[in-house]
């Protein structure tokens, strides 16, 4: 070996590739306030837009008078539906195949709906003018409860499609009904349930909440009337999809639209959809010829842009006396609000809710989901979730607990005897998925041992005795969860959004001096792509991660991709990155062989170089190869060292995890003190352990919020009760417990580097763990089910209902 060559391990470490806890390269900017968000953007002559919004959840708009508003100094225009109609933009298509009003077209269907768009020279003038737009409303009866949507005399919300009972997802049985979606075997499942030893039945409600990213939604549209090009900066989790959709609905040729997602301050699904603000900013820029900025405030974000969850899941689970599950049945009533604006792959109007058999080998299952219109804001996005996987995981993990109660069994043991076994993978689920890999028993045992489960149960029994003896007013709850996710949407053969296939992409250019730039079709909103994708590439092409620039979010430069949500970046774009790297390496091999004057097959890859087989002192480093690729004439080889990969995944990936929450509940105050939270995640190959840990901490804290207090609540009149952060629960560091993180590693067999994705697992698994712990505390008093969020008064009410205050 060449004396000058450092050992393999040292060279590999210098790359900071896979498995390295490399510090986030983004943070030097963010921690110094040097991020560049949409609202930081200032373009010459820029105008500001602001909405007039409906105070009523259901009303006809009789008239709109904009005279007084137009008279405010600085006001340039006030747009209404009548102004957008000639352009065909008063309505827009939703991602779910429905259409949505951009500005109120004759009626409003939820409180906070956009009615008029004021454009002014500054924000203050716009806000003043908003107050002066006179709108005459005629209030209509309100539909808040989805179970009352189809009763006699229910108000018809969507009069525009009342007579069209053939929707985007098949037949609609009522004007307020959106779709029925089924999976699995109905008759077979009902037969199994009819014959079963034991059947547990329960209504599991996963309440309406909101992703509430730190940065609200916004856009700056700039139409250059000279060259006909539209530049649209915005908070977009899928910039390429926005470009295509914008082109399709506006008629502007796609090459004349440039969409840029700058830094994004959190998305969590809230920034997947297309909002009226974006459309109005574009139209206003076209009308005025000036850039127009629209940025919503917090109240607007919570009350009008996409909500999450709101699934009423009626479940039946059948088992033998010994606890072997034989069948699962679920009927879900899905409250979609006023327009069906769910962000799901087209063929999946209820997302991947059919992953609701979870981690268990359930031979027979049936799922039916009915989507319903109500007078609430549209949405139904995947809040740190892969298309309704959180709802599915919550459903099955509650049903397992309910079954354990019915069987009078320990819930940990019930899970263990029903897990899909390691040798059953790839596993075909009863509801149609092929789970790629898993080792649930190993993870489960590791988790139970880590928290000393047996001892916890003994302590709980003692506490119960003390409680009954009047020695304490606290009860102990142990919340178990074993979740299986389905992420990485997805194979183009069955995954598309508005017809756009859900592949993703990476393009790499190696510079002559051996550094590189890589561009992807995804967009980071805090996930740390610039850090982790460079690590994938470093391991693939032997260039240090520190020498690789990552760029995303500019549709003029980045290759086409479907963006970042549903934990799809690593499974899809991460795979594209590895595959593009391999193309680079293949060409580098030819160049190295030429330079070393041997046949291609006579060189082999060695961390950061190609060496001649059997003669390790003869090598060419990637740095040398990069220089040669541009500057040396090599017969039969084009100059340059670039590659692009568009990756269509063969399957989804199936991360899983085992979470355990231990808490103490004060039955008098209804407060819950979370004592221990243990989270074991298996996300396949681990790219950056530090970033995984950060993702898990963040996702668990969101799960804590959702389970313990966060909700978008409406009163009976359709008014939003939780429209500000005074009432919409975001935990501070004080409310957030310490988390213990752990892992097992079961690589995905079909992913180029075996990675599965992790960003959403803690939200998916965390919510049932917290909620199961609350339920478990009251199990011995006969509680089987109570609905989230478990805030103080609801816990108190549960205790009260069980007679614990008598």
């Amino acid at each position: 070996m060449n004396e000058m060559t450092p050992p393999k391990s040292e060279r590999a470490a210098a790359l900071k590739g896979l498995g390295t806890s490399r510090k986030r390269v983004e943070d030097a900017r963010f921690t110094q306030g040097k991020g560049n968000y949409v609202d930081d953007l200032k373009l010459p002559g820029m105008l500001f837009g602001d909405f007039v919004r409906s105070p009523y959840p259901h009303a006809y708009v009789k008239s709109i008078n904009t005279d007084a508003a137009m008279a405010v100094p600085g006001v340039v225009a006030v747009l209404t539906a009548a102004d957008l109609e000639p352009l065909g933009l008063h309505w827009m298509p939703t991602l779910a195949g429905d259409k949505q009003m951009v500005l109120a077209d004759g009626k409003v269907l939820f409180q906070g709906q956009e009615v008029a768009f004021v454009v002014a020279s500054d924000r203050y003038a716009a806000a003043d003018a908003v107050e002066l737009v006179e709108v005459e409303y005629e209030e209509q009866p309100v539909l808040v409860d989805p179970f009352k949507a189809e009763i006699e005399g229910a108000p018809v919300l969507r009069e525009d499609i009342a007579d069209n009972l053939e929707g985007a997802h098949g037949a609609r049985r009522h004007p307020n009904h959106i779709f029925t979606w089924e999976a699995g075997e109905k008759e077979q499942t009902e037969a199994v349930i009819g014959d079963a030893d034991v059947v547990a039945e329960e209504m599991i409600y996963y309440h309406r909440t909101h992703p509430c990213p730190l940065e609200t939604c916004g856009a700056v549209a700039s139409m250059d009337k000279v060259n006909g090009k539209l530049t649209l900066h915005g908070t977009f989790q899928a910039p390429h999809a926005v470009r295509t959709v914008a082109s399709l609905i506006s008629g502007i040729a796609e090459h004349n639209i440039r969409v840029i997602s700058p830094d994004i301050g959190g998305g969590f699904g809230n920034k997947v959809g297309v909002y009226p603000g974006y459309v109005c900013a574009i139209v206003a820029s076209i009308v005025t010829g000036k850039p127009v900025k629209w940025v919503e405030d917090r109240i607007e974000n919570l009350t009008s842009t996409a909500f999450a969850r709101d699934y009423w899941m009626q479940g039946k689970i059948a088992a033998t006396k010994e606890g072997k599950i034989t069948g699962l049945w679920c009927h879900t009533t899905a409250d979609h609000g006023a327009f069906d604006a769910c962000a799901d792959p087209t063929k999946f109007p209820a997302g991947f809710m059919n992953i609701c058999t979870g981690s268990y080998d359930i031979p027979t299952a049936y799922l039916c989901v009915d989507g319903i219109y109500t007078n609430k804001a549209p949405g139904g996005v995947a809040y740190r979730c892969s298309f309704r996987v959180t709802e599915a995981a919550y459903f099955i993990e509650r049903m397992i607990e309910v079954l354990a109660i019915k069987l009078d069994m320990d819930a940990a043991e019930l899970r263990r005897i029903n897990f899909i076994k390691k040798d059953q993978f790839p596993y075909q689920s009863a509801l149609g998925w092929e789970y790629d890999s898993g080792d649930y028993h190993t993870a489960w045992d590791q988790a139970l041992n880590a928290v000393n489960y047996k001892q916890l149960r003994e302590e709980q029994a003692q506490r119960l005795e003390d409680f009954k003896a009047g020695k304490t007013r606290t009860l102990m709850g142990i919340g178990l969860t074993h979740f299986t996710e389905i992420v990485g949407a997805g194979p183009v053969k069955n995954c598309d959004i508005l017809g756009l296939g859900m592949f993703d992409s990476c393009e790499i250019r190696i510079h002559p001096t051996g550094s590189a730039i890589a561009r992807l079709g995804t967009i980071s909103q805090g996930q740390g792509h610039a850090t982790t994708f460079a690590q994938i590439l470093a391991s693939e092409i032997g260039i240090p991660a520190d020498d690789i620039t990552l760029e995303e979010g500019d549709t003029d430069t980045a290759p086409y991709g479907l963006g970042t949500y549903g934990s799809r970046s690593t499974p899809v774009a991460g795979a594209a990155t590895a595959m593009a790297g391999r193309k680079i390496r293949a060409k580098a091999q030819m160049i190295a062989a030429y330079l070393l004057e041997v046949h291609d097959d006579d060189v082999e890859w060695d961390v950061d170089r190609f060496v001649v087989k059997g003669a390790p002192e003869r090598f060419k480093t990637m740095k040398e190869i990069a220089f040669a690729s541009y500057n040396q004439a090599i017969p039969g080889v084009e100059p340059g060292l670039e590659a692009v990969s568009y990756y269509d995944p063969p399957n989804m990936t199936y991360p899983f995890g085992a979470y355990i929450c231990v808490l103490d509940i004060n039955v008098d105050t209804g407060t819950a003190d979370i004592r221990t939270f243990y989270a074991l995640d298996d996300c396949g190959t681990r790219i950056n352990p530090m970033i995984i840990e950060g993702q898990v901490h963040g996702g668990l804290t969101e799960a804590l919020a959702i389970a313990m207090g966060q909700e978008i609540a409406y009163d009976d009149m359709g008014n939003v009760k939780t429209g500000s952060l005074m009432d919409f629960f975001i935990p501070t560091s004080w409310e957030t417990p310490n988390y213990i993180t752990d892992f097992t590693t079961t690589p995905s067999p079909h992913h180029p580097i075996g990675a599965k994705g992790v960003g959403e697992s803690p939200n998916v698994g965390g919510v049932p763990a917290f909620s199961n712990a609350v339920h478990d505390a009251f199990r011995s008093f006969g509680l089987t089910q109570t609905h989230m969020p478990h805030d103080h008064w609801r816990i108190w009410k549960t205790a009260n209902g069980l007679g614990l205050h008598d």
């Binding site: 203050y124 109240i299 009760k721 005074m726 409310e735 008064w793 009410k797 205050h805």
Partner: protein, 284 residues
Amino acid sequence: MIPAAFEYHRPDSVEDAVKIISDHGDEARVVAGGHSLIPMMKLRMTGLSHLVDLQGIGGLKGISVDGGTVTIGAMTTQHELIADDQLAASAPIIREAALQIADPQVRYMGTIGGNVANGDPGNDMPGLMQCLAATYTLVGPSGERTVSAREFYEAAYFTAREDDEILTSISFDASASGYAYEKQKRKIGDYATAAAGVLISKDGGSCSAASIALTNLADTPIYCEEAVAKLVGSSLSGDDISAAVAAAVGASDPSEDNRGPVEFKKHAAGVVVRTAIERAIERA
């Protein structure tokens, strides 16, 4: 979240400030820390044309303890209340309560004067001042007067302060009593679901003096006279405490909101009052 236009004034004396608000009537409001008023302006729930900033008036800040009387300038921030050791020695309940108000950033700006004068039933200081039997000094066009904190609050956002008066200082007697301020809230930064301030003095085996006041359990703070009567002269037995708790809960009149229904709030009121009484007895 953008307020309507307003005129900004920054007078350097109380006299000038009073003149501005007298000239403009209910079109003008004084602003101290701004943590109640500014959000209301941004939500356009308060329409005012003249905002009178008191930050420029030097004499309104500071804490003094003189012969057993504590006087606090209205513009003293919550943070300054927490940081003042002399105050902590004379009336430790102030620090205990102030540490439960909002978060450090808010406490750097929020003032005791703004907190007590605004009349928001969610604020913690009004109940605390009733517990301490504090008096407020108000200055208006016709001079200065004092009002007892226990007489000051009429309804939510309605107080004994006239529109052209400014609350300039607060005073109360230093106390060696056992004390406790107990607050249940949903999260840091939230108003109380239920909160109670309690002072208890013992003489031998019996209670020689007591004071109990509630926060956010009605549309004004509540001084619980009947509950106090159950304790004073008693031996502070379990039954005595229970009788006081029942009387305090009976005096509360909470309304339903996102923190919960009335029934729950009354239950929570009982818990915070009991906890506060027990802690105050321990410290007495």
